[in-house]
Symmetry: C4
């Protein structure tokens, strides 16, 4: 693999290596890509206030999440069809995640069987959580079967994606003429209706089979696993989910791939945290590129973060090794950011890290 010094560098390495249509599928966003760009920009625009001369001895990046202690708060976001990026696909990225102590969320549209991914990961004592992401299918029975397979395979939570009742306006993908090549497909969806993220035409009539709050309740009853919702942005939706007893929320705009001009997750996160109080676990994704971004996310109330595209660029550029190096680099940057803001542990990271102190004489 080529050398890289920071996650943003991986974009160019992956771009050179991938088919242009696959690149567009992976890295593009909805419509004019305003939300895609805003996600990254919003983290960078937040100021981070240094603190000095605090005791840092014994510091670490460990966090508690879902009843476990994780080595650090970084998880891999669910991404479809990772064999488009590297022959070993989800198997390689899951392996790298486990090696670096990072959690891993497998997409419904995985191109490697979920059992094979689970086998690669479950034996690693240092691994992070292993979760299964669910795209709601019109047939409840099919959903149930998928979830049961995931349970049997050893997955530890179900992550229901709620922000994609229809395909977004994927202009970049359509301009590039993206279609999965023969031999790479969503292995668990072979006999099911076309999944929502397959390129194609828009909704013909508004979708009648998108999931609703009732389906969330059904899903909670249908599995013994904790159920997370992914794609909640509005504080009122967050409260409704909380009232249903979900395990946690992933504050996400689907990486800017569905509704263009949806607000950046960095601007939404503190509103959601304020709405749900201190106890409900929140994970945020969208635009995280730097250790400083991770620290800001935790300062604004997230318990952990998902990283998607940059780690997929790493997969394309260097397979499992690339993903592992990128994760290590991001965690190193997080450690540096903690030291420079006087945080011995991530419990020290509160909103005051990203808030200008009042300008006043006392």
């Amino acid at each position: 693999m080529n050398i890289f010094t920071a996650l943003p560098d991986l974009a160019e390495l992956a771009h050179q290596r991938l088919d242009p249509a696959v690149w567009a599928f992976l890295s593009g966003g909805a419509a004019d890509e305003r939300t895609l760009r805003a996600n990254t920009q919003a983290w960078q625009d937040l100021p981070l206030w240094p603190r000095v001369l605090r005791p840092l001895s014994g510091g670490h990046t460990r966090v508690a999440l879902a009843g476990r202690e994780l080595a650090h708060p970084i998880l891999l976001a669910p991404v479809a069809l990772q064999r488009l990026l590297h022959p070993e696909g989800e198997w390689a990225s899951a392996l790298a995640a486990a090696a670096q102590g990072a959690g891993f969320i497998l997409s419904t549209q995985t191109s490697v069987p979920m059992q094979r991914v689970a086998q690669a990961v479950l034996g690693d004592a240092g691994r992070g959580p292993l979760w299964f992401q669910l795209y709601w299918q019109a047939d409840r029975g099919f959903n149930q079967a998928l979830v049961q397979q995931a349970e049997s395979a050893g997955f530890e939570a179900i992550v229901l994606t709620v922000d994609a009742p229809v395909q977004g306006v994927r202009d970049a993908e359509r301009r590039a003429g993206f279609a999965p090549p023969a031999g790479i497909h969503a292995v668990h969806l072979r006999d099911s209706p076309a999944p929502p993220t397959t390129a194609g035409t828009y909704c013909a009539g508004l979708p009648a089979h998108a999931p609703t709050w009732d389906d969330v309740a059904w899903l909670q009853a249908a599995t013994r696993l904790p159920v997370w919702l992914k794609g909640v942005l509005h504080p009122l939706d967050a409260r409704q989910a909380q009232a249903l007893g979900v395990a946690g929320l992933i504050v996400s705009n689907h990486g800017g791939r569905t509704l263009d001009t949806a607000p950046a997750t960095a601007s939404v996160l503190p509103r959601v945290r304020a709405a749900v109080g201190d106890q409900l676990p929140l994970i945020v994704d969208g635009g995280i590129r730097r250790g400083t971004d991770v620290l800001k996310a935790l300062a604004l109330g997230a318990n952990a973060v998902l990283v998607g595209r940059p780690l997929m660029w790493a997969l394309a550029a260097g397979g499992a090794l690339g993903v592992a190096q990128a994760l290590r680099l991001l965690r190193d940057e997080l450690e540096a950011a903690m030291a420079l803001t006087g945080c011995r542990t991530l419990a020290d990271a509160g909103p005051e890290l990203v808030t200008a102190p009042a300008y006043h004489r006392e």
Copy 2:
């Protein structure tokens, strides 16, 4: 016609196909084109807040306007001399509008006789409204004759343009040396004074024959058709029009073609809605390029939107078929935006869609 994936793509297709001076006439704006750019930018800058897991079954894009139910809230803006863009001119764009259930407003400066346009459209049961736009002429008798022709031809409303008492500072047009070629002219204005949108010198002394509020009252009395005013931006003007009993207002800055640095319509619309209350029909135009823009317009109080330049680019690029495809695409994007914001119908679209929820714990 070349393939396009979104309305903004049509600009380049049309640019390649059109004479540079015609391109400048169609796509340019006043002076430094600040308002032209601000119109587009302002819609994009508005955030759109997703909502999730709501029931979407049976959803649709229908709206009520002027006593009818329309399939969707998109109408074609009046544009002069469309035969400059395509040999079939207004006939083609009106046909496409009807085929897609879109309303159509014919310009005073039509290059196809109004009767021929009306015949193409009136027999289509699925068509939207057919209205006639009026540039006030110095001679009241001439205005009356034009309006009577429109009534006889089957037009259903008169849209009086009030924001162009003088020609704007059309630098782009003048730099390109635009003049209509022989054989393409405003067919209903052959014997009248030069219309305000013909390129030429500015006002010599301020215009003595621009329409006034008294002329609006005269026009209302002179026709049995409802009278709309197009080009109202200031809330006080909107109230004055409301007091005169106009049928509705088109909130517009003439597509950035008259007064440069006039505010973007997206920023003005909520002020006008607040000024006139809930009942007066409002249509907005200027910078609408995406289904998300249409949804934002309705969220801010518009009952419908006009689209001008993008559909004219489509006319230049592909004739009636191009216009129809562009309309279909815009409506598809609107449907996707509705689904992603949890709107089953457009009645669900209120200001909260574009307003950040309060940041507070309760």
Copy 3:
């Protein structure tokens, strides 16, 4: 002369024609040219609110200034050494100003004798005011002699420049190595110390001979002409000048040529107007390029505007004819802006033209 459609176009025409060092002298600003750019930008950033359907018949651009009625509110700013730009220098620009009814302010550093300029102008019944700009010289006697020459020659006011106690940081000029060529010099300063705008080193020790408030009082006593101050930005300085009984103020930052990062005049003008009340005449300059800019200046409280660089570009590009055409164009644009904002006369232009109306329902 080449054709131009708007004043900004003249920059390129002049740039092509002038020696690079003269171009830098004319068009450059202080240091990083932040104020130079901010001046232009600030006018453009102000919104202008259209009003419709108002009676415009009998409208005109006339204003009262200094006890006279002027055809329009545009005056030529004092600019040094205009023979650098065109062989006929100040004589040509003054002639063009008079032909267009524009006022003219002759610089202390004129390259044409003041008497010759006055003779060209005074006989024209339609001319605007003819004023003499004074750079304070260390020797009071020399100042007195200059002012007496101006009185005798027929100049009607003295404009004391107060914002240049030292040369600005003229990096553009210095990089270009500007020095006036042989044969072009400040004709009334031949035997005096080097004037402040000659390129050279900065102050060696802070300047001991810059004018003070006492010198203003002395000047008022030393001449029978009204005394204006040019270069006042701070409201407290404006009040102090008002207390001394000056004839009026020119709100100016010397066209961005002295103190870089000084605020744009468009942002300062309303503060100065608020500080001095309604009666004291105010003229503003800096960045005026469009008729809309002129209208905004009057809306914010100016009685008239000065235009400098654009008319000097016109002088370089086309001599007296160029200046006259540029003035006519600017006035035409002003008329169009008035019509589109419903101003029959400039007395109708108040702060509400550039202020967003309140967003409320009543």
Copy 4:
């Protein structure tokens, strides 16, 4: 040396002359260089309000600092390994500083022995202060030995850097592959552990040996010299330092080299001044490029400023002479800025210089 007209010009001159890796080491910042750019931008974005007609006679740039009167408020920031830039390194820059009456802070990582630097400077009666910058080393004894050497050599204060407990994310440096060439090293650190600013890997575990508040107290007891802290941004840290009785603070974000997205020093300075009251000496650095920047810093509460990169560019471009010319130029610009804002002395520079006066009629 090539001619330059302003400090920003020196960047290009140095860039041409230096090895690309050395250029990256000198001029790069942390991560995406947001703070690096923000530092410069923030000074430029502050408006500076001119004042006119005030008496300027006898004006000067003198300030009191640390019990002395300095000719002007500009000091050279500590920069490591200056022999990378010029064979004479710190000796040349210290000599130039003394010749121009500027203070000089020698880095712990000096490439010229501190005794040789001190000898070059101490005999110059017009010189500014000579201080020694300390990077805390894990071994207290080593720190003590360094400080005692500095005392013996004649240094007059110790400046403890507190904002670099870990190396920043120096991507520019790492991309360029920077490593000091043979023969240029930190002469006083030969036998010590690798200093924090040497390129290398990040913290492996959070740093156990970074200095703490207790170490500051130890250092104050261990030396008879006044102790300054460099790298304080947060007002609460400033107060804690004040409570410990430090001699003064340097408000700094390490020139954007440690924590990217830390706020610009221009935005932080007034908060720190408000927190510590009027008495504690404050110096600010980061992004100072112009005399107007220096004046703004003093207006916002600084007693003096440090300048780093621009003077190092001057060292690379022209050795001691280059540094001296750059200092003279900056001081000349400061004088011009003072004259144009009506400041006879720097005691006249208060917050009102950079604050828009209220907009009101009285």
